[in-house]
Each structure stands twice: as structure tokens, then as C-alpha cells.
Amino acid sequence: MPLVLNEEQRLLRDTSREFLQRSAPVAALRALRDERNSLGYQADLWAEMAEMGWACVTLPEAYGGLDFGFLGLGCVLEETGRTLTASPLFASAVLGSNTILFAGTESQKEHYLPRIATGELTVALALDESHHHAPADTGCTAQCNDEHAVISGRKVFVADGHSAELLLVVAEDQYGLGIYAIPENTPGLLRERTVMVDSRNAANLTLNAVTVPLSQRLGGTEDCAAALEQALDRGRLALSAEMLGLVEEVFERTVAYLKEREQFGALIGSFQALQHRAAQLQAEIELCRSVVMQGLSAIDDAPEQVPLTASLAKARLNDLAEWATNEAVQMHGGIGVTDELEIGFFLKRARVSMQMLGDTAFHRDRYATLSGY
């Protein structure tokens, strides 16, 4: 399994970087925040990203995708992590589309995936119901008869739940775990945008006897639990790739600052106390890069390794993101806690990413369980 990028992947990384740094730098996120943008991302930017094929990098060609592999997608996500770019890329084109890919029937896939691939349709997965990621605990229920399903319950921390046109709602039903594709304006579905620390989109959902045709249940009458787990692992690895980009950017900015800030008549980067802390971070970044690349490669080449490497990656990136952003603030000193400096945006996005799809305690526990202890 490859742990180095090939030429095509490097090219994708370079063009993504160039595009994002020009069109969607951290300043763009600041602008969205300051104007309290109701969509939470730039619609024209998303159209351009989709135009470049980013929404369909990994999708099979049969559904309008490029089938370019997750290692390739990781290159794009890493760059969006560096610029903290707000867009439906992760929630819709990765988490949403893979949920449909694994759980949907053939006709559902043909119906939704090509439109997600072009960016025309945005979807969001509504899974968590408490303040900690716990995919095994679903309180939301669906009562099904031959024609309809009636869904009730509450969902929290739904990434892009505020703006997505289609919600994929996870609910217990008579077939096991069900996932229901519910259009945004369906009666009984209430969406409440939550203003989160990272200035990105999330929402809480309330479902009061939302009624949809049974044909909106993904996979017909199959239990969707296994499919959901597969989609979640892809999401965890994709998010880890984004977090790796975030960490690399905040760390590079910090190292650059160590080389320009003078105190006591010397550049502070010449102080061994700071050098060692930076070197330790560099070592951990190297480990995390291997882990992310292995996990993404495993999706493409060795699916049996995905659950363990997904938990490995998310746990390690959670810890690294916390560590690297805290050190970034500390090493910048006073200016590090000002809103003017962009370091704070990285700190804030890191905390949201750390909770999303499982914190370290969740993934350490899962790693131990998968390892047989």
C-alpha cells in the first residue's frame, strides 16, 4: 500500500493548494463569520470546487465520479485544513455520499450520487443525539408501514445540517438501524442552526412525526448499521486528513514566528526550551502523516484494515491537534490570544474537529476493543 504520493496526487495537492490559498484563505472564513453569513460558506466558491471535480474524487465512475482514490481526496482535504475553508466538501461529498454509497439501493445511488458529485445537491448525516459521539446509542425512532415511515426524535451537532438540502437521519426501526433521506422542507423537521466556536455550519434537528415514503429509507428494508460504520470510518479518515493539514499549517506558522520574534536580544527560536518542544511536535507530525496516509490507502487497497486505522488516525490527530494548537498560541505569546492573528481560528476549528466523529477516549476504547482487549 502506498505511503508516498504519486505524480498525479502531488499535482492535485499543488493545484488545490494554489486555488485555496488564492480563493479561500483563512481571511475568507473570518469574513463569513463577521458578516454572519446565513449559508455559512461561499456558494460560488463551492461551485468552483465542484467544477474542479472535488465533490466526486472518490466516487465510482458509474455515479459520475472520478474514482481517483482516497489518497487523492486526502490531498485536497489536507489543503482545506490548511486554509480552514468552509464548504460542504466533507459533510456532503465525503460523509453524506459515502453513507448513500454503502447503505443505498442501486436506484437510490443512481438518484442521489451523480447530483452530489456535481455539487448540485448537498446532504448531511444526522447521527449524534448527545454531546458525545455515540453511534451505537440511537434514540430517534421510525415507525414503518408498507408505504410510509414516521420519524421522531432529536439530533445534535449535525455538520452542515443547517444548509444541506437533504438530511440523512439515522433512526431505530423494525428492520434494525435505518437511515432516512429527508428533504430539507419536509413538514415536522425543525432545524436550528448552532453557532459554533469554529464559525462553521452545524445544526440541531427536531423531528416531530416526520412522514416520508418508505422508499426514502436507504437500502430498502436492510439493517444499515454495518453500512453506517463503513461510511463513518471513511469520514473519520477524511477528517483526520483535514486535521493533518490544519496542524501542519499552524505548526509552520509557529516555527516561522520562532525565527522572527526577538526577545532578550536573540531570536526566540534559538532557545533550547522552545526548540525541543517544536522538535517533539515535528516527530509526532511525522507519525500522524504515516497514519493518515496508511488509513487512506487502506480504504483504496485493504478495506479490512480500515476500522483499526480509522480509530488510530482519529485518536492520534485529535491529540496532535490539541497539542499543536495550544503550543501555537503559547509560542506566539500575547499576540497569540488576539483575534487579529489567525492562530485562534486554527485553535477553534481543532476543538470542533476533535469532537466530531469521536474524541480520543472513544477511539482509544474502540482501538482496544478491535484489538481484542
Binding site: 505511503l3 516555527v255 525541543h276 522538535a279 511525522e286 482501538y367 476493543t369 484489538s371 482487549y373
Partner: protein
């Protein structure tokens, strides 16, 4: 499938077949210290099978697969050498010959030695005729290696060496020692150092073992009292020994980063120890949640380190430069310490036995290895030195 991977697969099959035919069954299990063959004039084979296994590997050129044929190697490339290593590991085949000559001096001589030095020393290493010690550190020159004082005075056709070296591994059983010596006190301290090969049987060389906290005395201090060393034993140029030493340190660090996978003792893994010394509930979870967390953290760390070793290899093959190789010594040796501490916690008081029948061999070995692990983040450039190197070479932070 690409052409090169087809060739690699064919080579792998060839290696597998040859090992199957030639590696004696008794040599297909982990080697404890007493099972290792280090060669040299005072070395002897631990068993007849060990002799047979070594001789077959030597004749095949696989004791030093990457060395040129004329020096006893098989002239293979890095990928082929790695395949041999992997296939040996697959059947638990023992390392047929251990030694610093093979691992460290040989690669340095190939790069810096002249033809007659290579001809004199490389075949002798492969043939296990000479065992080598390393003479770098001194009582007053540890992490600050370049401040070393052991002096070599130039005379017509020889050097006269005076001083001492410390942490000379098994020097009391070695035939030769490669040393860093001071040949000039002018200019920067790195610029007056030369790389010298010294026959340990020369008059004026003496060695004393040092007892360590692990109870072992693998390390020695070696003294040089007016030792005459022929001029042709100088490797590289006079006063340019520092670059030879640096190249050699890279080999040493790589070796130390990988050492966990080829430990001289039977080592129990923390996961195996947990099965044996901790309890599980009905669902198969360890009931001690704190140790379960620590075990998972350790396993994840080793998983990540293993993947990074693989990435380093792939990057080397692809000609991609990355900082990864420079962080491995630090990470690998720190992880070894973590592992030893974790094993003691898992074994509880059973992991604290020093000797005697109240404890199993495995328990006693675990304790001794715990003590030995403390040296790993000190030897070969301490963790603090490794961090300095990362700060300077990777991050390019300003130096004082």
C-alpha cells in the same frame, strides 16, 4: 503489476525457497543472548546448527547482502536486502552473525575507506574473523562528543595514541576498535578529529568492564597507553574524521530505532503480558481501565512508528526526501522505555524480581530489560541531542 514488482515477487519466492532449504529448524526461533554468534578470535558458535546456518548464509553472501561480492557480500540492492530481512523474520530465522563491524564500520568503510582498508577488513568481518568495538565516547565527552580528548600524535609511519574510551561494548572480547581521536587542537573542535582503526591486541591497550543498573557489564572502558598505530589505519583524511563519524552515527541511530524488533532476549509484548497478568470481564475487556488505556496508547504508538518505518523505506525507494528518518531514533527508543514501564505496571510485583526461582525467566528478563532500556535514550545520541538535531536540520531554527 509493474515490471519491478514482478521481479521483486520472483526474488521473494527465491529467498523463501532458499531459506526453507537452508535454515536449520533450531535457528528458527528468537535468540536469547547465549544463542547469538558475534564472531571474532574469542568468539565461538553457540551450537553446531548455528555454525551451519552462519556458514550457509556467509557462502550465499547474505551475511552482508548489500556489500560487493569481492568483500563477501551479494551486491544486492536495498529492496532485495529488505526482502531477505522480511523473509527471515517471517520464519523467525536468527541473525547468523551479530556485530558492529557488520552494521556500522562496514558501511562506513565502503563509503570512506581506501581499497586496501576495505580488502583488509571487510572480508574478515563477513568471515567472522574479527569482532569490532566502537571507541567514541570518553568520560568527559558524552553528548558533547566533539570535545573528545583521546590523543593521537603523528609520527613518521605511525600514530601514538594516549587516552581512554568509555561505553566500548564488549571490548574485552573484541579484536579491533574503531576510534575517534584528537589529532589537532586548532580551529573548531570538530576539525581536529580523525578516524582510526586500532588492533586491540597492540601493546598498551587495556580494558575494564563496567557494571550497569541492569546487572550486566556489556560495556567497558578501554585505555590506551602509548599505543603505536600504523599510519595506514587512518580512515579518510587527517582531521576529517568527524564526517566519517557522522555517517556512522546515522547507521547507529537507524539500528537503535529498529532494535525493538530484534531484541537479544525473549521479550513479551505488553499485549501478551496483559492476557497473562490482568483480568478481563465477560465481554473480553480488561477490567483495569487505566492500564487498558495505557496499553492502547502504547499499541497505537507502535502501530504509528511501524507505519513510519515503512513510509521511510518507501520514500527512500521513490527518492522522496522527508524529515521522517531523522525522528525515528528519538521515537523508537522513547517507545522502548514506555514499553518497559508498561510491562512492569502490568506484571505488578511479579515484574520486580531480580533473580531466583520465585520468578519466571520471562519476568526476570522483563526487569533486566527495563533497566537496560534506560540506556537506549542516552546511547547513540541522547533524546535531547536528537531533538537538537531535529530543531536544527528539519526546522532550521536559529542556533545560539
Amino acid at each position: 503489476m509493474t515490471h519491478s514488482s514482478a521481479t521483486a515477487d520472483a526474488f521473494r519466492q527465491e529467498v523463501r525457497d532458499w531459506l526453507e532449504e537452508n535454515c536449520p529448524q533450531s535457528q528458527r526461533q528468537p535468540a536469547v543472548a547465549a544463542d547469538q554468534f558475534w564472531g571474532g578470535r574469542s568468539g565461538s558458535f553457540p551450537s553446531e546448527d548455528a555454525r551451519l546456518w552462519y556458514e550457509r548464509m556467509r557462502d550465499k553472501g547474505w551475511v552482508a547482502p548489500e556489500w560487493p561480492r569481492e568483500y563477501g557480500g551479494a551486491a544486492l540492492d536495498a529492496q532485495q536486502a529488505r526482502i531477505i530481512k522480511q523473509e527471515m523474520k517471517r520464519i523467525n530465522a536468527r541473525t547468523p552473525l551479530y556485530g558492529l563491524g557488520l552494521w556500522m564500520l562496514g558501511p562506513a568503510l565502503l563509503e570512506y575507506g581506501n581499497t586496501s582498508q576495505k580488502e583488509q577488513h571487510l572480508p574478515a568481518i563477513v568471515k567472522a574473523e574479527t569482532r569490532w568495538a566502537q571507541g567514541y565516547s570518553e568520560p568527559g565527552a558524552g553528548s558533547d562528543l566533539a570535545s573528545l580528548q583521546c590523543r593521537a600524535e603523528e609520527h613518521d609511519d605511525h600514530f601514538l595514541v594516549n587516552g581512554s574510551k568509555i561505553w566500548t561494548t564488549a571490548a574485552d572480547r573484541c579484536d579491533w576498535i574503531f576510534c575517534l581521536v584528537r589529532t589537532s587542537t586548532e580551529g573548531k573542535k570538530q576539525e581536529g578529529i580523525s578516524f582510526l582503526l586500532i588492533d586491540m591486541h597492540s601493546p598498551g591497550v587495556s580494558t575494564t568492564p563496567i557494571e550497569l543498573i541492569s546487572g550486566e557489564s556489556e560495556f567497558c572502558q578501554t585505555f590506551f597507553d602509548n599505543v603505536k598505530v600504523p599510519r595506514e589505519n587512518l580512515v579518510g583524511e587527517l582531521n576529517k574524521g568527524w564526517s566519517v563519524a557522522k555517517a556512522l552515527l546515522v547507521h547507529e541511530r537507524k539500528l537503535m530505532a529498529e532494535i525493538g524488533s530484534d531484541s537479544p532476549r525473549k521479550v513479551v509484548s505488553p499485549r501478551e503480558a496483559a492476557e497473562q497478568y490482568l483480568q478481563k470481564d465477560d465481554t473480553g475487556k480488561l477490567t483495569n481501565t487505566e492500564l487498558r488505556s495505557q496499553l492502547a496508547d502504547y499499541d497505537m504508538q507502535m502501530h504509528a512508528i511501524g507505519l513510519t518505518h515503512m513510509r521511510c523505506f518507501e520514500e527512500r525507494q521513490a527518492g522522496v526526501r522527508s524529515p521522517a528518518p531523522l525522528v525515528m531514533k528519538y521515537l523508537g527508543t522513547e517507545a522502548e522505555k514506555t514499553k518497559s514501564e508498561l510491562l512492569l505496571k502490568i506484571m505488578g510485583s511479579r515484574g520486580l524480581g531480580w533473580e531466583g526461582d520465585s520468578f519466571t525467566d520471562e519476568e526476570l528478563d522483563t526487569l533486566r530489560l527495563w533497566a537496560m532500556s534506560k540506556a537506549m535514550t542516552i546511547a547513540g545520541g541522547s533524546s535531547e541531542i536528537q531533538l537538537n538535531v531535529i530543531a536544527k536540520s528539519v526546522l532550521e531554527l536559529p542556533q545560539e
